[in-house]
Symmetry: C2
Subunit: 85 residues, 2 copies
Amino acid sequence: MYIVVVYDVGVERVNRVKKFLRQHLNWVQNSVFEGEVTLSEYERIKTGLRELINEDHDAIIIYKLRSMPPRETLGVEKNPIEDII
Amino acid sequence: MYIVVVYDVGVERVNRVKKFLRQHLNWVQNSVFEGEVTLSEYERIKTGLRELINEDHDAIIIYKLRSMPPRETLGVEKNPIEDII
């Protein structure tokens, strides 16, 4: 499974969330990580994130895709896709 | 085609970008819009965004999908998917 994670978390938690996601996924842009994961990795990521965020305040969307989706980049490509593959 | 747009633009341009995207797509979370578009709408969105951003500084990724992707939300659901459909 391929996931794209977009997060909107309070500034006091953002560094821990970023650090955690960096261990599992590829950083693509401010507040966006993505990568291929197994089902158990996916569950581990969700559990880890739930422990780090304030569920009454922060918001995270995890898009679940079959494979790396085609995309178009406008402006600066912060982490070129070639580096992800 | 269904697109998910994530943007990271300078604070001085963010309101114009948000206002523009709101005319074409559904807001789902801070810095994230999505929606079903025709090919010509998609081209219009790209052209419009290119006019609004500073291409040497801002970054926008447009994920191109076949249909609305499954997703999981952690924490607050800022704009529940039922409102989008």
